[in-house]
Subunit: 207 residues, 4 copies
DNA sequence: GTATAAACGAGACGGTACGTCCAGTCTTGAT
DNA sequence: ATCAAGACTGGACGTACCGTCTCGTTTATAC
């Protein structure tokens, strides 16, 4: 996902006055932060000062764009977000698997870079930032999931009397448990498929 | 849950020399931290310095007991942890509901104090601390859940061919999704029951 | 005293290409600086940035003309310098009084604008600037004083065996002491006359 | 002249609470600043940050004692101030020479360390600081001078009808002119004597 | 009782980062 | 080429905490 200069701020309809902000610098900052994260620098040691040093940029240049570390992290995370999921559309089962699979890969990618995951955690300390992230990343996926389920009900793949919100949480939950509560593993290949099929098969004995 | 002086530290086998540590001071520190959290002070603004001020205690007195803010938080969280769940034992369904219900109440309690939730998040930044918390709080609940499911398989309440780890995640997941991803709500009464019953009833149409 | 554009800089013999520098802008800068000084803004708070803001001018426009704050100050001071002294020429005594009187008025004028006096002090921090100011302001007055004294020796108003440099310092000194060491006062009317007459009368009892 | 910890601040009658301030650190700061000055570091480049680095001290430690660079300079200057003048007491002439001679040596010493002189200038930018310096350094010397002159009038060495304040300025002035207006020189040996004798001999021809 | 010795509150200490401001330079579009 | 505007790197500002280190005082044993 790419974040453009204009994408975040106010659309500058008024004629540009003075030297315009450099997109190159913006990229350098985001990528510098990403690099620190990937190099395994503990989150607590990532200061604005250090980001500036890493990116070869003045501190003021960072503060001119973001009001602090946290806001910057939102954009860093956004830029690391995988592209939109492509749903096969063949069945609810396949769509759900595709959805979970993309979640799984994100979890893995983040884990491979070890800490993005924590940035996530960190962000929750400030509600405003969290809201921004929630709106731009989490909410879209959620509504996509609901849509898939709704179609499943129409198809007869899903019981009609179910609360879709709840079902969505049931589907997404297991992946989250493993990513959040047991960092470091267990997001093996085929997990998405196993979750969905287990759910669809039901938990009770078939008798 | 109460945390005793001896419970955490090194058992001082050698005869005690000099003035012993004051338990009252220990309580003052933990409760002072709790108070800050409950007063809605943003996590980032809770410094050791401020905790000391709030508790009317010297900084060294804190560092004598904990190696830093994070370690202290573990104990604060532990002390806020509800007492052990009591399982009715009447059926797997009832036990699972009891388990989820205790999770739900914890989520709500934390929400009422709004931020404990974030301490949780914060802690993940330091793996050591996280491990400590994981071992003392998360793991026990997890194995309790697995035990309940195992008994369910014996009873015939649960299919015998299921991966219990996965099922446990499926059961716990929805509650976590709501607590973590949608802070501020939707942990209504009866949620535990709805989750368990939805899962047991299965997602497919009954035809 | 007026400072012309050509007076300071390099005479641009080559035909002017592009837009010529605006004299109005130059005046605006100098007068803006003066205004800040007169408004009692502490010298340390007068930044190039602020001068630019006050004068409604870009920073580059200032740097295009002066290499920094200090050089600018020289011109500001020069522009505030009173016009050349007019000596009556009737006697050494009268000429010395005229000289001191002009010094006194300068001191008072500067005091009335409270800070020019300090610019003076500030300038000494950079030898180059000080030299420029010394050459254009202090040295001319000094040689004028020496000339007056020389004529006094010719007239018989002054002992022939005196070191004129020393006498000049003796004449000028008291005024300086009061202006520099006791800012804020004691440059009353008639002071010039009292100094000169006291010196000419001698300090010893007349017996 | 030595500046003690207690000398500047509030007399700490109240029992000392917490770790007391270190006099060694205090000395390190003042001497570090002095060193920078003596090494010819331009005054404008002497930042609190650099002083701290030089003295091997935290910035806060400096700000704990002085409110800023300027206040610190007062103490640095005070500590560089030569010890009190010793007057021979044999005659007004000899006493005045002793007084001027101490002034001259101070001027030279400062020159040798090249910039202390400018610190002086710098200080004038802030009236409060200047007042502090004036009271503790300048005023005492001034009243000492007046006292000497008063005794001179009693002895008959000085005309009884003279304004002593003015005479004092006349005596001190020439030395100041040379130190302030012509930095870099002309404070040769024997200058004090020449000034006093020239003044006492009178400027008019003896006829 | 009276040492002894650790704990205690307070706060100084060397550091590091904060977020802001200014120095000088550079880059726009417009004059 | 100049202008106003304003971005750029760099670095100092004065503040707040970090984790450690004295201080003087308090409080338990152990002698």
């Amino acid at each position: 996902m790419t974040v453009s200069l204009a994408g975040r701020g106010i659309t500058p309809q008024q004629p540009v006055r003075g030297r315009p902000r450099s997109e190159a610098v913006e990229r350098a900052i985001i990528e510098g932060t990403m690099k620190l994260l990937e190099d395994g620098v503990p989150l607590a040691e990532i200061s604005v000062e250090r980001i500036a040093r890493t990116a070869g940029v003045g501190k003021a240049t960072i503060y001119r764009r973001w009001s602090g570390k946290e806001e910057l992290f939102v954009d860093v995370l956004r830029s690391a977000e995988p592209d939109d999921v492509e749903l096969p559309g063949t069945s609810m089962r396949d769509d759900l698997i595709a959805l979970l699979e993309s979640l799984r890969r994100r979890g893995l990618a983040n884990r491979s870079s070890a800490i993005l995951h924590n940035v996530h955690a960190q962000m929750k300390s400030s509600p405003k930032i969290w809201a921004a992230y929630h709106n731009s990343v989490i909410a879209p996926r959620r509504s996509l999931g609901l849509e898939v389920l709704r179609r499943g009900q129409e198809n007869g793949e899903l019981r009609a009397d179910l609360d879709l919100e709840l079902v969505n949480d049931i589907v997404v939950g297991p992946m989250l448990v493993r990513a959040v509560l047991r960092p470091g593993g267990e997001l093996g290949e085929g997990l998405a498929e196993r979750i969905v099929d287990t759910l669809l098969a039901g938990l009770r004995p078939v008798n």
